[in-house]
């Protein structure tokens, strides 16, 4: 097995990893980034529904009641997300556990995060879209809300010169999406970081004795085994002074679970407390007095979001524009006001599908569901996903679906039932949540009794080992999670640099590390 040395090893290349890669490289440290997925970018993306392409980069972990989607690719989820970049509302940071303890560490709230949001937004060039940039389906959604007197705001995006092809979620072939491929990652490389794709980290163990970390670091560093070049590739062991886990909520939890032997004092919270942003949907056909929407025209996200139920129900509401494959994968569609219950296949289903493009509206709420998911390893060290508190999950789903249904009903829409299905097309029974907004599997907390890492992202009991991705975010956010993950990763990276006594050295046109405020 070949041995390599590096000051800092960063696992992953998505929103949680890219900021530490850039900032630590700017601070003069030797940074090595290992990405499990393949190299991909605007030159390789396709506007396709071909599962062979999509499953190369997008992965899933599911159970009967929860389905998580995540990316394994250069740039992580940034290549495939819808570009919506919103700050989490203040109430997200105020969430508490059943014993009344605040879930976010002391001192971290919206006000404390705002300077880091500023920095992340400037890097991704996030702006609120203009009135003329809202696609039809978003306009129709806004009108539905307006007719009931509810507010609706134009969303904020990380995009420049969008052509509205509608394939944001398969990768932007035009390079308009401000994914990490066009900012953090090239700047990190310019600052000296090396990036290796198709490199899967197998496990981590704490080194014994000696100081292998960069000057100013604490502890003896870590030994990180990885396989480079795919499943049959070369085994390499990295000796790293600092290790930053940014492989995502699923990836970081799995890596720590598989490293239990070499990191025996990890918190028992590893893999637990997964929040999933309370994704609830309701579909319907538009009433005759509403203009046509268009599921397939304009950018993937419809551009409008309502905060009208944020204070009362802890939810934001938008509409979604799934591509046909996403729609099929989400569930079986049936008109809900017809007896006997229509089939989910055959002529009746075709008739319904013909109305999807222009006459269907799907409302989506994101909300503050409690951390209830858990990843474990089975006897073969394969991941298993489970959820706790099913009755509460079912009650939440019913309550929020009633809110969405009420909006549709009062507008005169015809209800459509959506029965969630698994990857084999079989129906799920009971409450079911699917999301790409999972957080919290190695959550930040004030004490090891409540979480896996401290407020600085450092793993309790393991100096120099950090988690900087969605796994560290302790709660649901009620909005898309990417900007918060990135802002928090910036905050953690700044903390590492400060504790090492390094001065930030901006390069490549990026803003200064220390944010305003």
């Amino acid at each position: 097995m070949r041995t390599m040395r590096t000051d800092v090893l960063i696992v992953g290349s998505g929103f949680g990893a890219a900021a530490p890669a850039l900032r630590l490289a700017q601070a003069g440290l030797g940074v090595t980034v290992l990405e499990k997925g393949p190299m991909v970018g605007p030159g390789q993306y396709r506007q396709t529904q071909d599962p062979k392409y999509l499953l190369t980069y997008l992965k899933g972990l599911g159970s009967e009641h929860l389905g998580l989607t995540y990316a394994e690719a250069y740039g992580g989820g940034s290549g495939f997300y819808e570009m919506v970049s919103l700050r989490a509302p203040s109430i997200a940071f105020a969430q508490r556990d059943p014993r009344g303890r605040r879930l976010w560490p002391a001192g971290i709230d919206r006000g404390a995060m705002d300077p880091w949001y500023d920095l992340a937004e400037s890097m991704l060039r996030v702006e609120q879209i203009g009135e003329g940039d809202v696609p039809r389906s978003g306009q129709v959604f806004a009108q539905l809300m307006a007719r009931l007197g509810y507010s609706c705001d134009r969303a904020r995006y990380a995009v420049r010169n969008c052509l509205g092809s509608g394939f944001c979620v398969t990768g932007c072939i035009y390079g308009a999406k401000q994914s990490l491929h066009v900012n953090y990652l090239p700047q990190a490389i310019a600052a000296g970081a090396t990036v290796t794709c198709d490199a899967e980290v197998i496990d981590i163990r704490a080194a014994r004795g000696g100081a292998s970390g960069p000057a100013g670091s604490r502890g003896a560093g870590y030994r990180v085994r990885c396989r480079v070049g795919g499943p049959k590739g070369e085994l390499v062991e990295y000796h790293a002074g600092l290790v930053v886990l940014g492989g995502g909520t699923v990836g970081s939890a799995l890596l720590l679970l598989r490293s239990a032997k070499g990191l025996p004092n990890l918190s028992p919270h590893v893999g637990r407390n997964i929040a999933f942003n309370g994704s609830v949907k309701a579909a319907a056909l538009l009433p005759d007095d509403m203009p046509d929407g268009d599921m397939y025209a304009g950018r993937s996200h419809p551009g409008m979001i309502s905060y009208a139920f944020l204070a009362s129900h802890g939810i934001t509401i938008s509409t979604v524009k799934p591509l046909p494959l996403q729609m099929m994968a989400a569930g079986r569609l049936r008109l809900d006001d017809v007896q006997p219950t229509p089939r989910w296949w055959g002529a009746e289903h075709v008739a319904l599908m013909k109305q999807v493009r222009h006459r269907m509206i799907i409302l989506l709420s994101l909300g503050l569901t409690p951390p209830a998911g858990r990843i474990t390893l089975d006897g073969k060290r394969a991941p298993r996903l489970s959820v706790e508190g099913l009755p509460q999950m079912a009650a939440y789903e019913s309550k929020i679906e009633a809110v969405l249904r009420s909006i549709l009903d009062r507008n005169g829409c015809r209800p459509i039932s959506v029965e969630p299905v698994d990857r084999g097309g079989m129906a799920h029974h009971g409450a079911y949540y699917s999301t790409a907004h999972q957080t919290g599997s190695c959550r930040m907390a004030d004490t090891p009794e409540m979480g896996v890492v401290d407020a600085h992202g450092e793993v309790f009991g393991y100096p120099g080992l950090y988690v900087s991705d969605g796994a560290a975010i302790p709660t649901s956010l009620a909005v898309n999670t990417s900007l918060t993950i990135l802002a928090n990763a910036e905050r953690i990276a700044a903390g590492i640099v400060a504790r090492l006594g390094r001065a930030p050295v901006p390069s490549g046109g990026s803003p200064m590390l220390v944010p305003r405020g």
């Binding site: 306009q139 268009d294 025209a297 309502s306 046909p324 494959l325 055959g346």
Partner: protein, 196 residues
């Protein structure tokens, strides 16, 4: 081509089938249920081997039953039932044989030549079969729908049936956005789009 019935084939298995049946006997006993044993042992007529006329005809008719309204060329373009990338591929010949078996039992005719309403009844019966059969029919229908509606075989093809244009086709902004954008704006609760 001469078509044999299921019962004839079962009474007179080929040598290859016989060896398979012997080899798989313990597994079949362990599994108990009828459908898995039939699949494992390939205990269905030889004429339903991969790519045979009988298999092709039954599967094309299945596609037309799950998603009626496709042209013959569109039906033939649906390859998910054979494509080894997808999990159904090893079982598509069994599916074809099972469709014909159910069809013969109920209508004394091959599945592929039944009218749509009778084919629908046959497929419905498959969805109501034992657990494995139900999973097989469900998975097959699910794959066919995904393939047809999403146009997964051809990035640019889209789906004529549901007016999905496919990839690499930009919708003109004159039709992608409703004219008179401000008419469709509700009142905004924030100054910049971020929640408070």
């Amino acid at each position: 081509m001469t078509h044999t019935t299921d019962s004839t084939a079962r009474q007179d298995p080929s040598r290859r089938q016989a060896i398979r049946m012997l080899a798989g006997g313990v597994a079949a006993l362990a599994m108990g249920a009828c459908t898995p044993a039939t699949i494992v042992l390939k205990a269905y007529p030889e004429e339903y081997r991969k790519g045979s006329d009988a298999t092709e005809a039954a599967l094309l008719a299945f596609i037309d039953t799950v998603v009626p309204g496709l042209t013959p060329a569109e039906r033939r373009a649906v390859t998910v039932l054979h494509d080894p990338f997808y999990p159904l591929s090893p079982y598509s010949d069994f599916l074809a044989s099972d469709l014909d078996r159910r069809s013969r039992k109920r209508y004394r005719s091959r599945f592929s030549i039944l009218p749509l309403d009778q084919r629908t009844t046959v497929v419905e019966a498959g969805f109501s079969g034992d657990t494995i059969t139900r999973k097989l029919y469900t998975g097959a229908a699910f794959l066919v729908q995904a393939a047809v509606y999403a146009g997964i075989q051809d990035d640019r093809a889209g789906s004529r049936l549901i007016d999905f244009p496919g990839g690499y086709t930009l919708t003109p902004t004159t039709t992608a956005w409703l004219p008179g954008a401000p008419r469709f704006a509700s009142w905004a609760s924030t100054t910049d789009g971020n929640p408070a």
